[in-house]
Amino acid sequence: TLRLICTTTAVQRKNVGASGPEKYTEAFIKKQIEEFNLGKRHLANMMGEDPETFTQEDIDRAIAYLFPSGLFDKQARPVMKHPTEIFPEQRKIQWGEDGRPFHFLFYTGKQSYYSLMHETYEKLLNVQKHQDQLIAQDLPLQKEKRNLAGSRWLTKIELEEMLLEKVSDDDYSRFIQLLQKLVALPCADIEEKYIQKFCKEVPAQLKTVVIEPLQYDERGVAFSTGEGKRKTASATAVVYDNGTGKITVNGTDILHYFPVLQDREQLLFPFQFLGRIGKHDMVCTVSGGGRSAQAGAIRLASAKALRSFVTEKEVEFMRQAGLLTVDPRVKERKKPGQEGPRRKFTWKKR
């Protein structure tokens, strides 16, 4: 099976909203909200604060003061929050008192998913009809391209949250294919509002990282530091300006520390890419890992340090050259019943 190594917390969070029709009636939730508001006012009175301006943080602090708990699990301690945060949003009961369901697709089992598919297909047919009308009148078809790179479709988790029911991988992929088909048509601008519901903006990768400003030491020379890791090696590099291109690692010159040409090439890679080979001095410390891992760690550390010396455009070029990404590849573990991470024991017929 496909092993999911790189996950986000969103994947691991269980989608409680899709676990089935609601277990609490609407009247019960309303009563809980009234009780919560009343209790908030009582708490404010008890603490001597003004009941009108009593925020959630004040409630948390008051509860922590009145009911001190030494439990390790934060979610096991006493908590007083608005009922909508405690009782997760679930679908209301889908059938009336006579047992007859409200939605016409209830007996398919995935009513919201199928109704969504029907709606999207209706929009598709609409767009095609509009296209045919334009062709009949010999008018030119609008061909404005949407901004493809800046947006992404909703993930499966987000779709599940929107529909409040479980969506399988197959269903999700079919839905995305239908949306792509809709967008590919030339006159899709008519249904732009509908499509926007399923799009999310992706900010440019560059904006996520903060570039530190340059620091100046006693002699007035500008320098900046960077840290890098690769496998088990970690390195810190200090890059000085107005240098002669001398590089020192753990007190020794790189020619003595890295006898192999490939490692030295890796150290010089960021400088050569930016064209600043003879202009900077570097002093690094590195520990752990092997010869190649240490070289990779220093390369990452020096690339991070060079970010402060260089324009934003060149930082983006460095990122696209793969100089600023941490290499996540590590040694794969050995599994029981096998000799190594992949190699199995010799197969003996008897």
């Binding site: 496909l2 800046g150 992404r152 499966k156 988790i157 197959d170 490939q262 890679f269 050569q272 890419f273």
Partner: protein, 233 residues
Amino acid sequence: MAAPSAAGMGRRLRAWLPRIMPVRWSRYNPSYLEPEVKKESYQKPLEEQTEEEREQMELKAVRPIKAAPPTLSSSVFSDPMISKFTNMMMKSGNKVLARSLMSQTLEAIKRKQLEKYHKAPENEKETIECNPYVIFHQALKNCQPIIGLSNITKGGKTYQVPVPLTDNRKRFLAMKWLITECRENKHRRTLMPEKLSQELLLAFNNEGPVIKRKHVLHKMAEANRAYAHFRWW
């Protein structure tokens, strides 16, 4: 299973569920793109780029990028074909030895070509190629087969069916043949760089055992032309 669809970030990824779960996986999220190391591609001004290149640039601005591997570098001396060949020559992870053998081979090629150059008469001097990288690339290109054979079992009998090959497969076969040829068919006392340089120069001139092997494969494919319809892909 949340596995393939949690990776469905970005419109370019087809949200496709494979029928059989693959065993080969990587530590990177599938949305990570390959790095572009060459300096020249970043210095091209905006006007010269075609539509596709502009879309590629926009996509690269939004998606994360994998880290550059240690064999790849932007210096003029790093060549992806040479690195691939060195990796294939390497035994038990001894990259230092493989790299030194490769550099000795290139040196040997250069020496032989220079000898020939100095001995040749004036009018032939321009035709002799002295750059070992050019010789290496041309030799590999000459060794690449155009068509391959694959074993297909039909009705109990196994037939050798002619099959088109992808670019990667062609390069791999050319390199593999060169290395096996040099390891097996040499005198006990000759070293690998010498033998390799000999083979590369022969392949550059379309002679030698590797080219013969390629021709043999082509002839077999031509002979088994009748079974070509067994292929279903």
